[in-house]
Symmetry: C2
Amino acid sequence: MIYLNGEILPSEKAQIHVSDLGLLRGYGIFDFFRAIDGQPIFIEDHLDRFENSARLMRLPIPESRERLREIILEIIRLNPHPLLGVKMVMTGGYSEDGYTPSEQSNLIVMGKPFEFKPADIGMKLMSMEYRREIPEIKTLNYIVPIRAIQQMKAQGADDLLYYRDGKISESSRSNIFIIKNEKIITPVDGALFGVTRKHILNFAKKHFIVEERDVTVQEFWEADEVFTTGSTKRIVAITKTDNQVFSDGKVGRITKKLQELFLEEEKANEKITL
Amino acid sequence: MIYLNGEILPSEKAQIHVSDLGLLRGYGIFDFFRAIDGQPIFIEDHLDRFENSARLMRLPIPESRERLREIILEIIRLNPHPLLGVKMVMTGGYSEDGYTPSEQSNLIVMGKPFEFKPADIGMKLMSMEYRREIPEIKTLNYIVPIRAIQQMKAQGADDLLYYRDGKISESSRSNIFIIKNEKIITPVDGALFGVTRKHILNFAKKHFIVEERDVTVQEFWEADEVFTTGSTKRIVAITKTDNQVFSDGKVGRITKKLQELFLEEEKANEKITL
């Protein structure tokens, strides 16, 4: 079942007219989070970010925050699954001229089961010179990374590492952290402020020195450990990028510690939500 | 009536499922051209460009060129209007995982009446530091210019002038030409290869010195005349950009000459199509 503009519809009936400005001009935003055993994880953070994306894109949200929260809980209830991914998409609505946003945004909320990658296996990245156009907004524009899927597969890579002007920023759908001499460092400029990233920064401070600042490409290559974070990933080690192996191709010691701390944080948050 | 994936449907029934990759990730291309009194203008050029965009985006076109041409003519016939805009949109199809393109692209062909701006009135641009991510492809991504609509309106501007690294590239949906000392100059890097642009370059050579090359921002400000070109515009004078007036706020002499030559070129092409 999918929520679309005020109605809850069977999935196959969730259709939008071809005059939608997301379809015609890529003009829209989204957010994504997990529900574990029916409990949405960090939902208030995701609602905060969705509202922020909407404001920066000048898209009015057609529902109040309270109503949106209710819709999300209803979609989770109607799509029962121990591990559900929930996606909210909002576009510039049905445009009269195919260019100017409508006053009425189109809003979709849908749920789909998904699986985590096992935490003890690392990922491989392929570096790419790129920076998202408006990195602070979770926009619909994924043209560049999707166009690179074939090249990525040919190199045996699972995802991308974006860099520009000698600095790294993020991966295609997740944040990047490096660890050097037990310090945990993550880029600010060019990176989306991930919800997982935010929680890691919060609790990691209690155990390690944490720095949010520019990270040069050079620093990346010289890192002791590298990991990536996101709502679909939690914390996943990056064991290889291009031809370089990190932390002997295994999940590093500090990355492993952070994975454990993150699960505790997530559980604590679940209790608050309940 | 709208063509959608093999069917011709009443406009209000042309709906796509929310799993479409154009909607979810902005992954798609389009092309646009005019039909005057039922005759598509420069249709082969537009089909060439559409095929090229599809190839560069790795999207298979679900119809042969012959069949696509037939569909276009059918859509023009079913939407009778002296001046019809025809738009083809093709996306990465219904994606299983909301990220990877389907083997079956979604293809839409639709027609909508439109009006030309009068040729004797100029437009005003607002300059903006920006370059499209993959300028050689007519992708669906118009997030940056659409987000600037309010700012543009506040400044009384009709459209944008993109520049980066000291060079101008194009407007949001049209090409830019400058005229200096009777030379006609248009940027190459960062500009979409417009069909109107191509025809102007062809016939203008017979009357003027024409240069396709980098155009600095400095050269732009010092131009004698500036004009913009596109399928919805033909040739329109730029009489102002930011606070600077060009050609005394009127359509310049050479711009006017090119407007006349372009109408002849268009008529000659119509006869070929007929």
